[in-house]
Point group: C2
Chain length 638, copies 2
Amino acid sequence: MDSKNKELADESTSARRGFLSKSAALGVAGVAAGLTACKDDAGAAKGAAAGAAKAAGGHEVAPGQLDEYYAFISSGHSGEMRALGLPSGRTLKRIPVFNMDCMVGWGVTNESKAIMGTKADGSLKYTTGDTHHVHGSYKDGTYDGRWLFVNDKIHSRLARVRMDTMECDKIVELPNVMGFHGMFPDKCDPVDSKINYTTRVFCGGEFHIPLPNDGRDLEDPSKWGALFSCVNAETMELMWQVRVDGNMDLVATSYDGKLAASNQYNTENAADLSGMMSSERDACVFFNVERIEKLVKDGKFSTIGGSKVPVVDGRAAANGDPKTAITCYVPVGKNPHGVNASPDGKYFVCSGKLSPTATVIDLALVAKWFAGEVKTPRDTVVAEPEIGLGPLHTAFDGKGNAYTSLFLDSQCVKWNVDAAIAQFKGDKNAKVILEKLDVHYQPGHNYSSMGETKQADGKYLNSGNKFSKDRFLPIGPLHPETEQLIDISGANMKLIADHTAYSEPHDGIIVRRDVVKTRQIYNMDDFPNAVKPETAGIERKGNKVHVRLMSVAPAYSMPVIKVKKGDEVTITLTNHDKVEDLAHGCALPTYNINFIVNPQETKSVTFKADHAGAFWLYCTHFCHALHLEMRSRFLVEA
Amino acid sequence: MDSKNKELADESTSARRGFLSKSAALGVAGVAAGLTACKDDAGAAKGAAAGAAKAAGGHEVAPGQLDEYYAFISSGHSGEMRALGLPSGRTLKRIPVFNMDCMVGWGVTNESKAIMGTKADGSLKYTTGDTHHVHGSYKDGTYDGRWLFVNDKIHSRLARVRMDTMECDKIVELPNVMGFHGMFPDKCDPVDSKINYTTRVFCGGEFHIPLPNDGRDLEDPSKWGALFSCVNAETMELMWQVRVDGNMDLVATSYDGKLAASNQYNTENAADLSGMMSSERDACVFFNVERIEKLVKDGKFSTIGGSKVPVVDGRAAANGDPKTAITCYVPVGKNPHGVNASPDGKYFVCSGKLSPTATVIDLALVAKWFAGEVKTPRDTVVAEPEIGLGPLHTAFDGKGNAYTSLFLDSQCVKWNVDAAIAQFKGDKNAKVILEKLDVHYQPGHNYSSMGETKQADGKYLNSGNKFSKDRFLPIGPLHPETEQLIDISGANMKLIADHTAYSEPHDGIIVRRDVVKTRQIYNMDDFPNAVKPETAGIERKGNKVHVRLMSVAPAYSMPVIKVKKGDEVTITLTNHDKVEDLAHGCALPTYNINFIVNPQETKSVTFKADHAGAFWLYCTHFCHALHLEMRSRFLVEA
């Protein structure tokens, strides 16, 4: 720890740093015991609630006022995406993606099941998910308001959400990938520079597995591998994959579209904890997208198992010659966690996690390395400041400053990129660390307003903290997490709000509200199965019965619906109400059917009428003074 | 509308009231068209965002400060319960109940599936739910912090949540009930007055159905009926049911334990909308619990179909003699929606919904009616003030004032109960209506701090509004709802916050924070299947394999787990970490398994290992700096 950092740290922080720098000298056992995330620092915790209360003056969003920004965040193993308003922290919407959501009927309706994927028997293939990263589609280096993308780590899926309706419209499962973690859309076409918007989404595979994973090589992890995948943003189909060394974590893309990169831990390709930490350095692997696509175009690829996706070899051993290499492994701090692009387009910053450093890589030098004009990959590094313990993710303010979350220090550190570069060149007077702010506690991701675009505006920073400890009323053994909002517009960081989050939020983006242009009503003609007065009614073909229903508050079009036990019944419901937000529900007791239809929207369900009786099909979504009376008799004859 | 009310209404309110009083004179068609909940009153909506912004001065909960109250609210067809902090509106926890929740593994683990209920093949019986009411258990007329109860309307289930861990521990399905809507615990034993705490939960059945519902009587709804059910709060088993006329909506209980009541719409027993509205009055039905239990004890009951639950006849025709009657039908305003007990223990208030009135019923007079000392049920009514259009639910401040949500007026009306009684007696100078406050928009439930206890403290009122319209940033066709927090401690109501809610919150309670005593850690010995060092490991019996796993950050106890394709595998995981909130996840890719274990907790899953390969079982819940490295190889041999 350099003396500058020590001076900046206040007394309690110093105490924590002392404890940690001591444990950092221990071996694996020491790390496991000493770096435990929530070592119960009772004194610090108790002090917080009493002492840290500060007025958020000027940032409150009063009744009737609107927020300035949207935040779109991943929800971890809740499986959804969330949309918040900032600075209020209001949850505007939970967007179901990989999880079932019985309010809207996600995982219940035929339409949502088709997107989520089903088994042969029609049941959902997966009902669990683990989202980590949300990113938006780009145009001209900033968000175009078209799409949001989000990953699923547990079942290696990429999902897309339409920003006009804020609903998931596509999910694709990546073949031969396990632990799909980092993800980033490109910002420009890597080949055709005239295409200045998102066309591809890059996906990092974290866990190495047998390729194909069909039972072979179980005993020999050295034969296992991980793949970096490219998905077509429009069709959501796989374009290609690259086999790499190491475990890929996060992904970043350059503003010119030429480079994508992923920070890597376990470049040792080890299968156990101590092995994963044995090297002093891991890597940030850069991908030369144009060269990869040339190989694929030229047919110079293989495939794995039953997958038809072209796979090229990006392992270091196969990429010794920079002039033909498709990958460049830049050595960075040990077990890095996070790679982020600076909004000026010049640098990627990789955090150390087990090293107290951030590594600044100059993209122009990486391009030169691929041209054979730079000697070693390490020569692309232009700064590596010591910033604190457990650095994970870095956000930017568009004014040359970086903000890195320090997991072990429970702090956010503000540092200057140019000063770090000067220091790296030998300037001993360079003032790299500008400020450290305590956050509560153990921050993971952080992200700033428009910070991953050329329009980074340096207004807000969100610190997603993994442990809330005593920051909120006790609620049992499982605590909420904290999303702390920090005003970064002034010379000093100012903590303005503690927002709770249902575990476990990860990465997110903060988007200026004018970027988002939503539809407030559907177009009935967008649904080919829309039920109109001329098609409404009941139709039987053998034991298949189709009930075509319409809703207009406070009634469904059929007061009585009759089927026979054993029938396969499809109910298609079109909401003919046109008033904004006048949604209706459709619940069928004992048949486990429940979904809503927004104005002018159509949804359907198919099920077997396997038990006889009278069932009141009722509206679940408050629509009218006579909402309770909005119901039809669904009669199943024995 | 009386002139007093007209004076109180401001100009825009008058306009809305004029529109509505006109439509109230129309027939069914007029009602359907005219009373539509969100008739797009564009002028009013636009005005709100610009004009209604007011500072919430003094109510903000700054970083590091704790809330004063908990709110426990139902979530509608999201199927969960929610715990909020007030006044901040922070969501402290989503408590999964009837919904799947892939963060904690609710609906995934064996333990949660046993509570939720499964089909013969082990899959969940239901994955949808529709909660409406949350109430707490009582002692001495106030919350004892032991249990929360919540209903499921779609599949007629009652669930219980332990307040020490804030987790659901029991769910019971009510037989021969459809549309289980209102629910309330008793506050005292109806028979033994020394038992001054909750022993029973009363459940209103809304929809009338064939009894039993096995395919009979489909064509003749006049034979259908609805049941009022009593559940033992401790065992969660059914005690008895009462067959009634009409459709039961909400439930209230008296502080002395003697009476329970449910407001009823469709006393006409009609099967269609116009029939349900044909009578000028509907009813609030009172249950004489002691008499019901005497009948049951004496064996004077029947049963329905395969159910063994004792059923007694509470229909009006069978209860003509007050001295033996078990029910008393008190006529109230048309199609009432809501019945609430005043905290002084004297009155139940029933709202009119299609009548602009609230009916105040004197419980002492109801007791006298059952004693044959009051001529007609209507004579128990001591006030029926006109309070506004679409009155739904009433909350109390403990100072003699009532606050009723006015769905159609989009207002909260504050009125004085004693003044209403005086007015009903003929006092023309009684000042009944004290104030009306615009809410945004179409309020459903409202509830006040400690308002359903003898400790009603008159501090906060929450108005759960069904339509947010323009109050929040646009988020697509489906809008959030608004939970508006109102300070009712002063002479005038003051709107202090617009909180968003994921659709669709219904009823809730606001509980002083000192009432809630949570456990912050589990006791390992509470779990009979806890895995300890002496039992940890893998055990095979035929093709059944039991993997007994332990977690201590950042590792599971077994780095490699080997099974064979075709095995039935049970993984039991005990978290041996003791630090508060140090939870670990357990995700198994491609096997759709994901759950978390809190410190000292044990959970298990059972599944068939139906595909071969290497799968990294990994931790999903951030636990440690080396969280990403916390994973084991789960090998399925072909």
